[in-house]
């Protein structure tokens, strides 16, 4: 029974991280109407930026290295948009997606070039966790949950209480109309990238804290982020949150019954299941 609760906790933990992935992904989808295939790499680079700043020659402790790491991630996100996606704003969908895929590949191998393909960690020893009600939870994991909550609250405030948030929602609803009405779409878009990058960076760091760093961590998490997005309804940021938690739980409870080698496939399986059962929710209208 303890084992079950432990799995549930792990599931919620992973779910929080996936929720942040999905929220970032769906934000960009909502504002620019395409699935950023390179989002996984934004996540991955966020994690590596921190690693870079914590290592030689900077050697900064985590709390201090965090801000510059996120700033670098934001830079990367805005750069992605400026150099790859903006020139293709009016191109056809296939062209855009192929470019995004190429970008993802470029970034992934960039990381491999700089840091190699071996698994790396931030170097915190695994301290023994507190035992509450028979479940073990480490300080790391508490940090993960708290950070996720902070991020989620922040996003909420941003979206529903700020003017920029309103602009973003307007742009995501109808880009043409927003432009005509004078909503500053350019800034709204940039802002969306900033937020998405922060979410990606934070979630990448949390993931690396919980597991490890490797250049390939982007791709499989893209699929999971996407599955979570689908579950919650594409473009719906709170749906993405919920979807993330569900996927996290499904993964950790799922490995109780199926082989752990397929843990990463569970998200995919859920996605396929959704497609079979409720395709109407996902049929995008052809433009």
């Amino acid at each position: 029974m303890d084992f079950l609760f432990q799995s549930i906790l792990n599931g919620i933990l992973a779910g929080c991280i996936y929720a942040l992935f999905a929220m970032g992904l769906t934000l960009i989808y909502g504002v620019l109407n395409f699935v950023n295939f390179a989002h996984g790499e934004l996540i991955m680079w966020g994690a590596y930026f921190l690693y870079f700043l914590m290592g030689k020659p900077f050697g900064l402790p985590l709390p201090i290295a965090l801000i510059p790491a996120l700033l670098l991630t934001i830079l990367l996100g805005i750069g992605m948009d400026r150099f790859v996606f903006k020139p293709l704003r009016t191109a056809n969908r296939l062209t855009l997606l192929i470019a995004a895929l190429g970008l993802s590949f470029l970034l992934r191998n960039g990381a491999q070039f700089l840091w190699g393909a071996e698994l790396r960690t931030y170097g915190f020893e695994i301290k023994r966790g507190l035992r509450i009600l028979g479940i073990s939870i480490t300080l790391n994991q508490v940090a993960i949950i708290l950070t996720s909550i902070v991020c989620i609250v922040f996003v909420y405030l941003l979206f529903h209480r700020s003017r920029l948030g309103k602009s973003m929602r307007a742009v995501s609803d109808n880009l043409e109309l927003a432009r005509v009405v004078g909503v500053d779409s350019k800034h709204a878009i940039q802002f969306a990238w900033v937020i998405a990058s922060v979410l990606a960076g934070v979630s990448g760091i949390l993931l690396a804290l919980d597991t490890n760093l490797q250049p390939g961590m982007g791709l499989i998490n893209l699929v999971k982020a996407f599955a979570a997005t689908l579950l919650g309804g594409v473009g719906n940021i709170w749906g993405a949150l919920l979807g993330g938690i569900v996927i996290g739980l499904a993964e950790n409870l799922g490995v109780l019954v199926i082989s752990p080698g397929y843990k990463d496939a569970i998200a995919f399986g859920i996605m396929v299941l959704m497609l079979l059962i409720r395709p109407s929710a996902l049929l995008g209208r052809q433009e």
Binding site: L94, L97, I98, G102, L103, F105, F268, P279
Partner: protein, 296 residues
């Protein structure tokens, strides 16, 4: 000389692989980013069967069938989706298949791979040496080219292109878009399986690490660089890229460099894809059709 022949074999295998993707992406407008899965299914199926002494003719047919069947199974739930969604699903599928190759050790020997794949014996003729294998692949490539050409130049192929251009209009003209897409996808998967089979028997050793996103990116690059939606595009693209990829392998470089060289080469591929899409998305060969100013 051997290097030259090796290059030719690799190029031709990738031509087949690229032609199969071109059918799906270039002609039908399907965003298949997991095409390597079917290449791998073909390779593993034929390898496993021939290792069990099943004659090559049969192994090949079964490998093709497996690739086609899995193409069918994947497409049923996902082909009604809009482009990006379908793209992610196929991407995910590619990863899942790789996981299957990796985890089902009882079947595929997992990460250790399958060594000693026998050379094919087709109609009592054994294609063991390099020139013989070149002949074999050339024959299959020509066959593939002809079959696909017949399909693409037919009314069926016309409908595929119409679907790519505007599926709503195609549907309004009475074409069952879903069925056409499925057929296109299955045929594409089938020929990808063929390419995979030929590749497996050529390298005689396959492992899950051979069927990753890199290969999908490579074949995608070949198709778009060469010119998607054209008959000779995949051929041209394969020549250019495989030549680049393989010849790098044969430069005698110090061992420490390879750690950096592989990701660097792949960064170039990624970057090339981006640059291509921004500056020349049609690729090298454009689709036929007079583009002169129509005026009024």
């Amino acid at each position: 000389m051997d290097l030259f022949l090796h290059l030719c074999v690799m190029i031709i295998i990738y031509i087949i692989f690229a032609m199969s993707l071109n059918l799906e992406v270039g002609y039908t407008g399907l965003f298949n980013f997991g095409h390597i899965a079917f290449f791998g299914i073909g390779a593993y199926t034929s390898a496993l069967l021939t290792l069990q002494q099943v004659p090559f003719e049969l192994s090949l047919l079964i490998a093709l069938a497996m690739a086609g069947i899995w193409g069918f199974l994947l497409s049923i739930p996902s082909l009604r989706l809009r482009g990006d969604y379908f793209g992610i699903v196929t991407l995910g599928f590619g990863e899942i298949i790789r996981m299957v190759f990796q985890n089902e050790v009882w079947l595929t020997k997992g990460p250790m791979g399958l060594p000693g794949i026998p050379k094919p014996i087709l109609f009592s003729y054994r294609f063991a040496t390099l020139p013989q294998y070149l002949l074999l692949t050339l024959g299959f490539a020509a066959l593939t080219f002809l079959i696909l050409r017949i399909i693409l130049r037919s009314p069926f192929g016309r409908v595929l292109r119409a679907i790519r251009e505007d599926e709503v209009a195609a549907e309004a003209l009475g074409k069952n878009v879903f069925f056409f897409r499925i057929k296109s996808f299955v045929i594409g998967s089938l020929f990808a399986g063929l390419a995979g089979t030929l590749w497996g028997h050529y390298t005689t050793f396959i492992s899950p690490g051979d069927f990753t996103l890199l290969e999908t990116i490579l074949v995608l690059l070949i198709v778009v660089l060469g010119g998607k939606g054209t008959e000779w595009g995949p051929v041209l693209g394969a020549f250019v890229l495989i030549f680049f990829q393989e010849s790098l392998r044969f430069l005698r470089l110090p061992a420490e460099w390879t750690r950096y060289l592989a990701p660097l080469q792949q960064m170039i591929f990624g970057g090339l894809l981006i640059v291509l899409m921004i500056f020349r998305p049609e690729g090298l060969l454009k689709e036929k059709g007079r583009v002169s100013n129509a005026g009024n």
